[in-house]
């Protein structure tokens, strides 16, 4: 019987990886980017990123020295881009864990080619996200007061505050994602340890490989632990963006005080996350010649997810208006009409176009398979989702009393902090793709046909 048929004998679907890849080939291909001499393309990304990241550091230093007044925030818009960026990054940070955890639980084997990649993205996005609420407070040197540690003031944090929930939710989300990502890395680190020749390499990979020996006795606990982490990360990923949405929903401001925020935020998060994964994946796949492992099949699936979540988000936009009208509260209704027609209508319609209209193109498979187009769409999704958060925050300009209405415009420092965070993100990302296996080798190997210890049963259709 032909073990190289184009059908994955394990689950009778189109092969997840190019059937001509065997274990060794996979290892080679995945390890290649790390063993190559650094490609020019990498430097082209890395150097600008580092510069941007440095500018972020500079901006933050000036911010702490001078005060948050250097931003465009004012009364009534006390939260500006800082919070917009925070929610934007947290949102992006969702796809990773979702792909790894949820798809893992649902036994979606196609995830194996992209989960490592998107988990890394999650981590770096969350790192950027965490930086914003940290620097946006007025007295950053007292931020430790949010931690419930005994002190000589006998004072404790206020656990009723959504912001405190946020502190816990996002930081814990970050830590758990890190664990999840690292646990997944251990076997591949071992692989690298066994491949590298340099002393430093052996040492570095050796340390983090923890002396992994691929022992079945280890795999046994390892698989359970990984399963449990996936099981925990799944509710976590849903809770985090719900909690983030509470920052707005728990307040009583028109346009913020909405019960649909949690689901709507989560959908938006997945949407933006997949958008970002696509953006990065499409680049990396080309630069590092991963077409055989990250196949059209994967890309097509991701495009479908984008289409689905994008439509959910669109539905939420519509629903907001309905609820605002149905609530009978003149403040609510005004807030939403003002979004679409007020001084910031531009931002609103940008959001709608990028998030709802443009993704509809993906109904057509032809489009889903057009890499360039897909890339452009993914960029639009990123833009649109940033504007979604901007639109929400900017609702502050017109709340209850017309006497307190105002306007908001960002300053140079708002922009520099925002761009700077991208610098941080891409710097980390470049380092990741250069020094760590960006695809989970061990996992990919499990979905290769030869991975099955009972080929003959499989061939004769033996059940599993």
């Amino acid at each position: 019987m032909d073990m190289r048929s184009n059908v994955d004998l394990v689950d009778r679907r189109p092969a997840l990886v190019d059937p001509h890849e065997d274990f060794q080939a996979i290892t080679k291909r995945v390890a290649a980017p790390i063993e190559w001499k650094t490609p020019i393309g990498w430097w082209l990304f890395f150097i600008p990123s580092v510069l941007l990241a440095a500018s972020y550091g500079g901006s933050v230093a000036y911010l702490v020295w001078e005060g948050t007044g250097i931003w465009g925030i004012n009364n009534p818009v006390f939260w500006g881009w800082a919070i917009v960026n925070f929610v934007f990054w947290v949102g992006i940070g969702h796809a990773g864990t979702l792909i790894s955890a949820v798809l893992f639980l649902f036994r979606q084997k196609w995830r194996t080619s992209i989960n490592r990649f998107s988990e890394a993205m999650t981590l770096f996005a969350v790192a950027c996200a965490l930086s914003f609420p940290t620097i946006h407070v007025g007295r950053i040197w007292l931020l430790y007061w949010v931690a419930p540690v005994p002190n000589s003031m006998l004072a404790w944090p206020n656990f009723r505050s959504p912001l405190l929930w946020d502190v816990f939710a996002v930081s814990i989300y970050g830590s758990v994602s890190l664990l999840f990502w690292y646990v997944g890395l251990i076997p591949d680190l071992a692989t690298m340890r066994d491949r590298v020749t340099s002393k430093l390499g052996k040492f570095a990979y050796g340390i983090f490989a923890l002396g992994w020996r691929g022992s079945t006795r280890h795999w046994r606990h390892y698989e359970v632990a990984y399963m449990l982490l996936a099981g925990l990360a799944t509710p976590l990923v849903l809770s985090v963006h719900s909690v983030v949405s509470f920052d707005f929903a728990v307040s009583q401001l028109p346009g913020w005080h909405t019960t649909i925020f949690p689901p709507y935020f989560v959908a938006g998060a997945i949407f933006s996350g997949f958008g970002m994964v696509l953006t990065l994946m499409l680049i990396a796949r080309v630069i590092f010649k991963m077409e055989n492992i990250v196949t059209m099949h994967h890309i097509d699936n991701m495009a479908k997810v984008v289409l689905l979540t994008g439509s959910i988000v669109g539905y939420a936009y519509a629903m907001e208006f309905f609820v605002a009208w149905y609530s009978g509260s003149q403040y609510e209704l005004f807030a939403f009409i003002n979004r679409a027609t007020g001084p910031y209508a531009g931002a609103y319609w940008t959001m709608v176009t990028c998030n709802v209209v443009i993704p509809q193109i993906l109904w057509f498979q032809k489009m889903r398979h057009n890499i360039v187009l897909l890339f452009i769409i993914s960029i639009f999704v990123n833009i649109g989702m940033w504007f979604e958060r901007y639109v929400i925050v900017i609702t502050l300009t017109r709340d209850f009393l017309p006497s307190s209405w105002g306007y908001y415009s960002p300053t140079f420092w708002d922009v520099s902090c925002f761009l700077g965070s991208f610098g941080l993100f891409f710097t980390l990302f470049c380092l990741f793709v250069r020094f760590l296996p960006m695809i989970a080798m061990a996992e990919v190997k499990t979905v290769v046909p030869e991975a099955d210890p009972h080929p003959e049963e499989a061939a004769t259709g033996g059940a599993h």
Binding site: V149, N151, S152, M153, L154, K202, G206
Partner: protein
């Protein structure tokens, strides 16, 4: 081929596993003590421009606190007395003492004696002596045995937690109004069986020490 890591490295995990919790707890409670006024402030004893001895005046001579700090019952500040007050006696007693030169000078020229502040609250917290005194909190309770201090030293941390503990539960620190300035009353036998609630001489028995922010921060 040789090992990348020597054998002893296998012990590291055990060591870390044992050390981390210890260090963690250590840091938290270390900060709680070494970063708090209990450690940083208590015992602060600067040398004053005039070597005035409370031990002598308040202790040996038994001058009542209110003779000099005469605003303690009617104002927030228990004011440091003007040189005038010193001169009431020292115009006759030790009139030529070197130590008193500064006092005499201050009395004549009106220039202030630059006393160094010992009991120093941050400017965002407001303390009123008068209300505490009328509630029956003795000098000793916060300032300690002044009558035994040659140089005045800080007796209490004056930290928020320290204040609050008494505001949560003032009873143990209350004494008869007549004993306000008595030093050493806390250790005396009558302190043991004193029941503030049934004291007929108290001006008021309905104490409600504030525990909300604006009680002290304005």
């Amino acid at each position: 081929m040789s090992h990348t890591f020597p054998r002893w490295t296998n012990k590291i995990p055990t060591i870390v596993a044992l050390a981390v919790p210890v260090i963690g707890v250590g840091v938290v409670f270390g900060m709680l003590y070494w970063f708090s006024p209990y450690f940083t402030d208590v015992g602060y004893m600067p040398t004053q421009p005039v070597p005035y001895s409370h031990k002598l005046h308040a202790g040996k001579l038994g001058i009542d606190c209110r003779y000099c700090h005469n605003t303690v019952e009617k104002a927030a500040y228990a004011a440091v007395p003007p040189a005038e007050t010193c001169m009431n006696c020292h115009a006759y007693v030790k009139k030529n003492s070197e130590k008193l030169a500064l006092v005499r000078q201050s009395y004549e020229t009106g220039e202030s004696i630059p006393w160094i502040k010992v009991h120093q609250l941050p400017d965002y917290s407001y303390f009123a002596h008068d209300v505490h005194v009328t509630a029956g909190v003795g000098c000793e309770t916060c300032h300690g045995r002044i009558d035994q201090m040659e140089k005045v030293a800080l007796h209490s941390p004056l930290s928020m937690g320290w204040c609050l503990r008494c505001h949560h539960n003032p009873e143990p620190n209350l004494r008869p109004i007549s004993e306000i300035t008595t030093m050493g009353w806390e250790d005396s036998p009558e302190a043991a069986e004193y029941d503030w609630a049934s004291d007929p001489h108290r001006i008021r028995n309905n104490l409600q020490p504030p525990q909300n922010c604006s009680g002290c921060h304005r």
